[in-house]
Structure formats: C-alpha cells, structure tokens
Symmetry: C2
C-alpha cells in the first residue's frame, strides 16, 4: 500500500478482441448477441454458474485456418465460444458449442489466473479504507473525509509474491478526489484475382513497465492487453470529428460484461479514406511532372487503458503497403512529490521529470507486440533475411568497398529472433518458395521497421520475464493456433511460463510451412512539461510492403485526380 | 567509358539553395533580379568575364548571424554575393558588394573544383562519339546511327585519378535513345512572444553511392547537392493537384544560368495546411472523449536529380514539433543485363535485383545530411545526451532492474558524434543552460530520429571518404559560418579535405556556445519489381520537438473543430 499519489481513476480496461459483426456472415465474425446468450444458457443449464460467478471473457473460438480458407460465402460454419470464468477466486475455462448450446469442455485452470475484474479493482475500495494502517496514514496527511479518497487494487502481471500462485492478489493505492476533475487486413486483390499476404494481423500484447523502484511503483508493469478484466473492453468509443472524420464508416462492437450479458458499444472502430496531399509516385521528365495523387484507407480504433489513450491504425495504400501505427496520447501516469521547481531540476530524480509543481512524470516504456500471421499466396511460407554485407573491392582506383545482398532463409525459430543494428542492416521478408513472380523471384512481403525501442531491463527481472518479447524487435514462430499472445494467455500473477520466449525455446523448424511474425513496436518515455496535463499525440509506426509480389508498380494507373475515382 | 546501358537522360541538376524572394525585405532574402545583374555588371567591368567564362553559382553571401539577429524590419542591410566562375578549366571565386557594384574579392580557387556544368556533361556528346573506340564498340552492338546515341560525362565527387587534381574530369557513358520515351523553418511564437528554436535548417548534402564495382558503375557515388552544375537548380517545379493541393501558396525561385543571367522558375516550393484526421490530443474520461483535431502546415519542395525525385517536406504542427521528411520516388537507376527471368533469380546478382526482363536495379544507398542550426532561446546552447542506463534494484521481490535517466552535457565535438544503438538508448537535446522554464529545467529542443541507416562502406573507400558524414547518425559542431556543407563546399574531384569528418578533428568545445546539429537521414535500397518503371513514394522522416521549452502542452486550446480556426 502506498500513500497518496495524484488522483487517478481507472475507469476502463479490456478484452482481447473487439467483435464487430452483428450477423454471422464469415467464420471469423465476432459472436452475435443471440450467440452470447446461447453461451450463457449452456453454462447455466450445465450448473456452472453460481450466483457469484464472474465472466472474464467470452470470445469466438476461431475455426481452424483450414476451415476458414476452405469456406465460401453462404456455407454454414461451426460456431464455438471460449469462456473464462472466475468463481471463488479460481479460474475456469470452458468451450461451448453454440448451435447445440452444449458445454464441450469445462475445467479449472491450474497454475494460471484469469484477468483482473473491475469489481476486484474497485471493490477493494471499502476493504482498503477499513485498514487501520491506511486510516492512520491518511490522518497524518490531514485527510479524515474518506469519501474524498478513492482506493483501488491493481493486478501485477508477474509473480512477485508466492501468494499469487493460488490467490487473487492486487496491489493497492489511494487517490484524493477532492477538488479535482480527473486524476489521468487481410487479403490483397490485384491483377484480377484475390491473393493473400496476411491471414490475420492483431495487437497481441501491450507491456508498459515503469521505472520507479519505490513502494507502490515497483509493481507497475502493466500487461495492458491480457491482464485486465473483461467488461468494458480494451477498445473504447471513438468521437466523430475528432478521432475520425464525421463521415467515416463506423463499427459497433460487442463484448461481455462480468455477469455474462453481452454489451454493445457504438463506434469502436472507424474506416475512412483520406488524401494526404502526397503523390503516390511522381517524376519530372523534361519540363513535365507525371504522377498520381495518393490516398489512404484507414481502419482505426482507440484503446483507453486508464490514463493512457492509444490510437491503433491499420493504414492501407493502393501500392499494397500496410502501415501499422500507434498514436499515444491521454494522461501520463504521475507521482506526487515534495520537490519544487526551485530545486535544481538538473540534479533531480533519475526516475522521472517534474512536469508541473509537485508532479513527477515517471519514466516508463511502451511495448506493443503485433502478431502478423503472414500467408503470402498460401500458408506455406519461409522467412528470409536479406543481409547487406560489406565486401572489399581490390585493384580498383575508383572503389575499395561495396555492400552486397546475401539472402539467407531462416531454418528454425532461433535463427529469426532479431534485433535492429544499423551496422548490420538486413531486410526481413516473408516469402512463398513455391510461388514465383514473372521475374522468377519467390513472391514476398517485407516487414519494414520504423523508429522503435527494445527493453534494456535485465532478463532475470520478474517484470521483464513476463514482457520478454520486448527484448527483441522481431520473432518468427511456427504457426500454432494456441499461440496468440506474446506474453501468454493468462499473464495475471503468472510465472512467465507462456509466451514468445517460452515457445521459441523449442526452436521449431520454420521453413516452407505456416509461420507467424511478431513485431515489437516500442518507445521509451521520459516525460516533459509539454506532456502535461495531457500529451500531444506521438505516433510510431512500421510497415509491410510487397516485394516481388507484383510484377511492377501496382499504382501506375491510379486515377489522375482524387475526384476521378 | 562503358558500353550500352539502359537509356537514361540526365536533364536536371542543382545549386545549393533556392531563392524565394523578389524584393529585399529581410537580410536572408535571396538575391533579386536587379541584384543578379549588379553582380554580373561588377564582374564584367572589372574584366573578369571572358566570352568563355561560365557561372557556377551566384548566391547571397549571408550576413553574420549577429547582423541578422540585430536587424529590425525597415533597416538597411549590407548585400553581398558569393560567385563561383569556371574559366579555362580553372575555378575562381569572387565576392561582390551589390550596392557599389564592386568586386571585393577575386581569386583562383586552388586545390578544389567548381561543380560540374550542364555544358560539360552534355557538351561531351560530340567528343565522345568521335572516339574510334566508341564507334567500334557501338558497331559491335549493331548501332551505326549515332544520332540515336546520346553520350554524356558525369563528374565524380572524389579524387579517383590524379588528373582530377588539376583537370576537369568526367566519366562518360552512352545511351541509346531510339524507340524509348525516357531513359530514367525557423522561429516559434507562443506565450505571447517570439522565441527561437532554430536559426536555420537546410538540406546540407545528399550522397548516393551505388554498389556495383563494374566498369562504368564504380564511379557512381553522387554528391547530388554540391557536385552538379548550377543553372537549372536543385529544386524543380511542383505540380498543382499532384505534389501539393491546387490551392496551396506557391513560391517562385530564382537561380543563375551558366551565362550569368538570373533565371526565374515558378512553383519551386509550396505551403499548405492539411488536416490529417488525427487528434492533436484526446482522452476518454468517463464516457466522454475530450480532445482537439490536429492540423499540419507543410512547406514542400521537390528535387529531381536525373532519374530520382525527392519530395522535401518541413511539416509544422501546433505543438511545436517540426517533422522533416523525404519522399523518394521517380525512376531507379538501372543496368542492362543479358540475365533473364528464366535464370534462377535467387542465386542472381549480389549487386542488385532484376526489376524487369533485361533490367537490373542496382543496390545503392541514400544519405541526406540535414544541417540544424539550433538557437534555443538564444545562440548559446549546449548539447545534452540524456542516457537511459540500466540499474539493478536489490532486495526487492517486485523488481530486479529499472533504467534511470542520466543526462550528460557534451563538452567537445567528439563527444557528440553519435550512432543509434537500441541497446544504449538516449535522447538528444539542444538546450539553453541560461534560460530556465517554470519548472527550472533548461529550455530545450529534442532531436527524435526516425527509421534511418548508416553507411557500412569501409572508411578508406574514396567514395566513403567524401560521404564520411554518413558513417554516423548525428554530429554537433561549433558554429562556423563557413561550414555549411557536410561533404565540403567543393566536392567535385576533391580529396576529402572538407566536411564534417574533417572539421570535427579539431574537437572544438561545444558547451554553452553557438552550435549546429547535423542529422543523417539514410536508407539502403535493394530494388524490387514494384519499383519499376517508377517507384511508389517511400517516406523517411525525423522530428524535432520542444522539451521543457513550454510550460505545458501548447495545444490544449486549439479550436475544437477544423472549421473554427
């Protein structure tokens, strides 16, 4: 338990995936309202729901990739749901067949904990405020009106104390609320036929470790996608005219409440086209400029996880490039301090920066793991590193060195755990060795890193063991439908026994088979006065683009003006 | 001399800077038409212009920074011009006082060569086609109609053969033209007063080394900003509705022809505002989203240097961030080959990729050096590295490590020659140690690198010696008004005796004085079929942003909708 910090309200957390469809038209469509209720009824009739049972998540159990790829519109598809329940502090998982309302599997999940629930976080308020040590600590700070104090318990992803193995453990903190307002793609069509580049791309994990070892801060290392309770959802509503143009296409989403009822939320994603006023290509030849204006199709959602807001973009351009971008904004997480500006800030805290009088923005990192299930013209792909290798040139007065490209196909998972080093450049490509383009190169898609960061925490740190994916920029795994979350499916209080670093110990073969790429988008954040009281949006991005996938520039014949299309 | 390659016409090259103003209203305004003619008349009356004398450049001699900073509107300013002439293969430099039409300085420039002229490049056509070896080589290839063969001579920036020290040396090549169409920001106002962040920012150099050691390709390592002739200019006209919105504000530019006459070109730059449909900031609190839509002011120009087109953007956002971006498009430089697609491309050339039948896109790099003359709230600045350093945490079950921020002020130039290493992260800041913000931090601007590359050529390579700036991502020098070009002022045939790598050998002190930052924006380019016959635009960028420069987020009170401003 800590003393006071700047008042922060945790209002909103997450489920793994938003569900956008209202009717079943595709095997990967999210559960419809009636389907949620079928799941509920099945569990109820089977006697699995006590009055105190809470729902952590109800998600479509995705059909096998083979089923999805074989499906054609109009065909019936098997529909099943994966359910996680919390009952008497124990976690249970279930699988329900929706058509028959039958519970196919049910059992206690041992050695793992369900995500934290809102009722656990906020339900701790009364309990914490009854603790004599808390009452005394508040009294010393001149606070006796406990109605203006709000306490909550936060989960911690990793196992820091032994009790976490078997009990539901949260780490508490209290805020004073008095006088304050707030206290914080898939397939590409070209050339006349549909071709696939990606089967699925998703945010797999979000890991935000803070860098203050003080009591009440040492536990702050959030696995924001996976650790928190279902109910309100990871994604939050978008605002027309602010987050997306008012004329965008809007998608509603459905998720589960703790009580098992589906909950519909409007505008959880938007789709819009924008014209960035840049040419898709241009060339000056003689005195004439030839070219075509570009356009961009943006699929956007926003996650608000307590204080932080993240805009999550999937930006498609007609040249076959998909740019994946994260815009970080919202309110930084802060710590109260008695330090004043009169103090020499330059010899100030090593763990943060003053951002206002009495307010320290604490150093932290953000790491997103993007799961990229490449299926370039089919499911059997290889991962190729095309290294640029310096080479000496002898007996030439004009040159003493060049670099040459030396492609190497990764045989096993450990060959494809990659870091970015500017002195050892390489290109990262997913290729289909069985499909050749007109120039006889294997068709491929390239992953192009953007500005990014890797974790520099030590490997034995309990926080880093959970967020181990952040140690490297890129990973490739052999496809396994159970491996969806880079830090494991049940990170809450876990012992780091799941996730990328664990799976890749098997060092499976990854050549000419179904493989998945995992990109780490990261940034270190030392805060500044300009980040207070709300941060200007900071964007980070990476891209994937066709490489010998098309036979020529695919945007040569775009409309000559934006009005033409 | 080489044999045939794919026909490529070099139509257009460069002078260091475009001149946008038509009348003298500011000490840094470019020369006006009448001023060009005063320069011409002064040189003519002094007897320096023989009938064969060619003008390489006529540029404003910038007044001292002290003069500019002391100037107020309406005051008269001294106007001088720097002139480079080529006469009998010798380079002469002159300085002319414009008001008095007096030649203040005139002399031969020894040990350096003026930039190459268009007349030298294209004037070589007849000479080359008279060479018996060329005629024979063309005959062997079945070409006897020399009207359909176009030959030219290209300069090479570095000294590869001894004759370059004293003679004008070009490296020739011929193209067949038969049957083909083409053969290739400153001050920030806020808080009620004007404050400076940058005195001047500019593209200082562009270095494009190719990676083919073959004859006719081993000399291809272009210093595209500095090596080529004046006349047409580095910047080329922009096309309304393609390069910039039709309603943009357009800037004309004036530069010099070889004959000394000023030449006006329309639409050499544009300025427009765009709404990227992103929030400048947003936060979901409760069920309400608060925020403000962002906008962006874009100053854009385009350089076409033979085959390549570069869009050069300076993007200003209201939060005080300046994003500097380069969009590369146009036509890749190619080499003919007898290799066919039937050949196994995967064991194909290490020096390039087939992009079409018979056409190899040759591996190459692009390096831009941006000169950033930071004057953060005044001319005396320091450069601070804020390192993120891992630190062990002992006796805490919750954590074993954090990182802390450890700021270090660079004392000398060699302390600030920087590479990006993800395992040793740091922030780069220009700060004014004499000006403190409300929180007592020195006001600063941060340089935020984007995705970039460094040269991996060997340091003794003659090409790399000229483009030595590309070995590192960032440099800081003590301000010297003569040091404007990262690879030297006269790179043509030079012996690498000028530029960043040479200046910083002096290891001058850079603390609390006038200093300049130099950012290397680079990318390696292995070509792909999608880059042919013209490349989709590929953007690279970096940004500078305020850091404890303002007292809070400066965009809190932007208009609530784009229509409001």
């Amino acid at each position: 338990m800590t003393g006071l910090r700047r008042p922060v309200l945790f209002l909103a957390l997450l489920t793994p995936e938003p569900l956008f469809a209202q009717s079943t038209t595709h095997p990967l469509d999210g559960l419809a309202t009636a389907e949620y209720w079928s799941v509920y009824d099945a569990l109820q009739s089977a006697g699995h729901l006590t009055p105190e049972t809470k729902f952590t998540s109800v998600l479509l159990h995705p059909p096998s990739k083979a089923t999805v790829l074989a499906w054609t519109p109009g065909q019936p598809v098997p529909r099943e749901a994966d359910v996680v329940l919390l009952r008497d502090s124990k976690t249970y998982t279930a699988r329900v067949d929706i058509a028959t309302k039958r519970v196919v599997e049910f059992g206690e999940l041992k050695g793992a904990q369900s995500a934290f629930l809102a009722s656990e976080m906020f339900g701790a308020d009364a309990y914490i405020k009854k603790d004599a040590r808390i009452i005394e600590a508040l009294r010393k700070r001149g606070i006796s009106d406990l109605r203006t104090v709000s306490c909550s318990a936060l989960p911690v992803a990793y196992r820091a104390v032994p009790a976490q193995a078997t009990e539901r453990v949260g780490f508490g903190s209290c805020s004073r609320t008095h006088g304050t307002y707030h206290s914080w793609g898939r397939s590409v069509i070209d050339e006349g036929r549909a071709r696939s580049a990606l089967y699925e791309a998703s945010v797999s994990k979000l890991f935000v470790p803070y860098m203050d070892p003080g009591n009440g801060w040492n536990n702050r290392a959030f696995i924001d996608a996976g650790e928190f309770f279902a109910g309100v959802g990871f994604l939050k509503p978008l605002k027309p005219g602010l987050d997306c143009p008012a004329g965008a296409t809007w998608f509603d989403g459905q998720t589960i409440s703790e009580d098992g009822a589906p909950r519909l939320t409007s505008r959880l994603a938007c789709l819009f086209e924008r014209a960035p006023e840049n040419p898709a290509w241009r060339h000056l030849q003689g005195s004439e400029v030839y070219g075509r204006p570009s356009r961009e199709l943006v699929l956007r959602s926003a996650a608000t996880i307590g204080n932080y807001d993240y805009l999550l973009d999937w930006r498609f351009t007609p040249d076959g490039t998909l740019t994946v971008a994260v815009g970080a904004t919202g309110v930084i997480e802060t710590k109260s301090t008695t330090m004043t500006a009169a103090h020499d800030a330059h010899s100030g805290p090593e763990t943060g920066q003053l951002v206002a009088e009495g307010v320290i923005g604490v150093n932290h990192d953000h790491y997103f793991s993007y799961r990229l299930d490449f299926d370039v013209d089919g499911t059997s792909n290889s991962f190729m590193l095309n290294r640029m290798v310096p080479q000496r040139v002898d007996n030439d007065p004009m040159r003493k060195s060049i670099w040459v490209n030396q492609p190497v196909v990764a045989a096993r998972e450990k060959d494809a755990i990659l870091d970015i080093r500017l002195d050892q450049p390489s290109m990262w490509m997913f290729m289909n060795p069985s499909v050749r383009g007109s120039l006889n190169y294997a068709v491929a898609y390239e992953v192009m890193p953007g500005a990014t960061a890797k974790s520099i925490l030590s490997g034995d740190d309990p926080v880093q063991r959970i967020g181990a994916f952040s140690e490297h920029q890129f990973w490739v795994t052999r496809y396994n439908e159970a491996e969806r979350y880079a830090a494991g499916t049940y990170p809450t209080s876990s012992d780091a026994n799941d996730g990328l670093a664990v799976w890749t110990k098997a060092n499976r073969t990854i050549e000419n088979t179904d493989i998945v790429g995992w990109y780490t988008l990261g940034f270190h954040h030392i805060t500044r006065a300009e980040d207070w009281p709300v941060m200007p949006t900071m964007w980070h991005e990476f891209a994937i683009r066709p490489f010998h996938f098309f036979n020529k520039n695919p945007v040569l014949d775009l409309p000559k003006s934006l009005a033409d299309h």
